[in-house]
Symmetry: C2
């Protein structure tokens, strides 16, 4: 697994499933401006509300192969591992698929991460302990104070000015 | 930018350009088992040698629009920012493009990262200072000793056994 930072703004993200993990993943991508479609016979209250207000699209039905076509990123988060794995098998080679029931069946995992101003870092234990990854992430986050984050902003502005004057 | 961990094994990666940065990016993806094609009139010695031994494919020519088609990931790393930006514009919506001359023109950046056993973490300052990102990454890496990494391995095995016995 290679850590990459991806701009998912306006990227089509398909969430299959409507439970807790599906909802958490949805929020991660929604926060980054992705265009989200949920396919699931049932869904959490959050998903229901987001769909009602038109922030996301929710199709209340079982997943079919046609649903997979247009998404750049697919989160296979149903309660049925065999359905999740079927999604990973049927996805095209350009698509990124996160299989929540068994990460190694997909080609995408979502690490724990912290964003503080311009600083972003991610931690993954590659399946050893998501809880520990979260704790490590928080601990590392605490090592960077407001002053450091402001300094990063200043460095960024300076670098942009240099580029413009080049 | 959302930090995601992606399995690039056998993914088609197109490197446009053959200089220092192109070579460094190439090595990152090659280490992870990607299938690499370089398109560039000129290339570094490393690229030349890798192409000669058949580890990668190198087409000694200028980039054309047809070259972009089949890649899942494109690294636009020529010395000409306008060519790099043209690549980002012409890429399809499913493709991930890293524009080395101006990261914000692409939808993919490659953060500094460290892998120690099952632990992977990445650091990006989102354009403020790649050098500082590298230093932070090394500092954080030093906080985890061999014992911790072994413990992570043990936790992983335990978790896999639980899954199997479920």
């Amino acid at each position: 697994m290679l850590p990459l930072h991806i701009n998912v703004t306006d990227k089509k993200v398909l969430i299959v499933g409507g439970g807790k993990i599906a909802t958490r993943r949805l929020q991660t991508f929604l926060n980054e401006g992705a265009t989200i479609r949920v396919v699931s016979p049932e869904a959490s209250k959050e998903i229901e509300e987001l769909a009602e207000t038109g922030v996301i699209q929710w199709e209340q039905k079982e997943i079919t192969i046609e649903d997979l076509n247009s998404a750049s990123i697919i989160i296979a988060a149903t309660n049925h591992p065999e359905i999740n794995e079927w999604i990973a098998e049927k996805a095209s080679e350009h698509q990124l698929v996160n299989v929540v029931s068994s990460a190694e069946k997909g080609n995408l995992t979502i690490p724990k991460f912290v964003t503080k101003g311009r600083l972003t870092f991610s931690v993954s234990t590659n399946g050893a302990s998501p809880l520990l990854a979260k704790q490590i992430c928080e601990q590392i986050g605490n090592q960077f104070d407001e002053e450091f984050i402001s300094e990063l902003n200043r460095m960024y502005e300076e670098r942009q000015n240099k580029k413009r004057n080049f």
